[in-house]
Symmetry: C2
Subunit: 109 residues, 2 copies
DNA sequence: AAACTTAATTGTAATATTGCAATGATTAAA
DNA sequence: TTTAATCATTGCAATATTACAATTAAGTTT
């Protein structure tokens, strides 16, 4: 089917999964790392930096923008992308809460 | 294509993406949450708990096991699944390092 | 305006993922 | 040994994702 049955899960479970999913591709990980590293925040050199075709990068940027993790600023013919700090922090909080669950000692294995 | 070009990324980028990907489905999030919550660690009631068909749950468990996040213990006719503490901690460390990057103030937007 | 640059969009092909019915494997219980 | 219970596997259909060539859109430069 390929269709996730989101209606049987809580909002939080779906939110965690959506965040994780968008981080679940190395190109998007690389894009985010580059946006973190770079001073100022450049744009189309992501294509050179990463090595995928321009439409592919554009598509990955779109998904990151859709989740709110980055935002883009049009500057002439080029577009300047950067991390959306507020949303990134929020996402981080959600993910940390999930990752940081305490592990019960009463595990059987 | 549907085929990720892993060869153009670093091992770390691919590792982060793989971990994120396996967390990128609400059923797997729910399974992990349940395994964290429950005392001892039960098994096939995951099917009742989550509400997907048994083969579907089994498949999600397989993926979680493949990444090492959980392990299963055969106990008679049933199988006891639980979090693999060591690997979970390692995964957490990798993800935290990625999520905790400092955001440069020199952002353009 | 014509030519150029940069990035988004569209269309398409290939592959992956999700979900489940049916079946199989394994062990316990009767 | 038959029956039941639990879970894995297989096979399949539907949908999603990834990647890119070709094109479009929008702004710059000449």
């Amino acid at each position: 089917m390929g269709l996730t049955k989101t209606e049987m899960f809580t909002d939080l479970q779906n939110e965690i999964a959506l965040f994780a999913k968008v981080l679940g591709h190395p190109a998007r990980v690389a894009i985010l790392q580059h946006l973190f590293k770079i001073e100022g925040c450049i744009c189309g050199d992501l294509v050179d930096e990463i090595g995928l075709a321009q439409p592919t990068i554009s598509q990955h940027l779109k998904e990151l923008k859709l989740l709110g993790l980055i935002k883009g600023n049009v500057e002439g013919t080029s577009v300047c992308y950067c991390i959306d700090k507020e949303n990134w922090t929020n996402m981080k909080k959600v993910m940390l809460q999930f990752l940081d669950q305490d592990i019960d000692n009463k595990n059987c294995c």
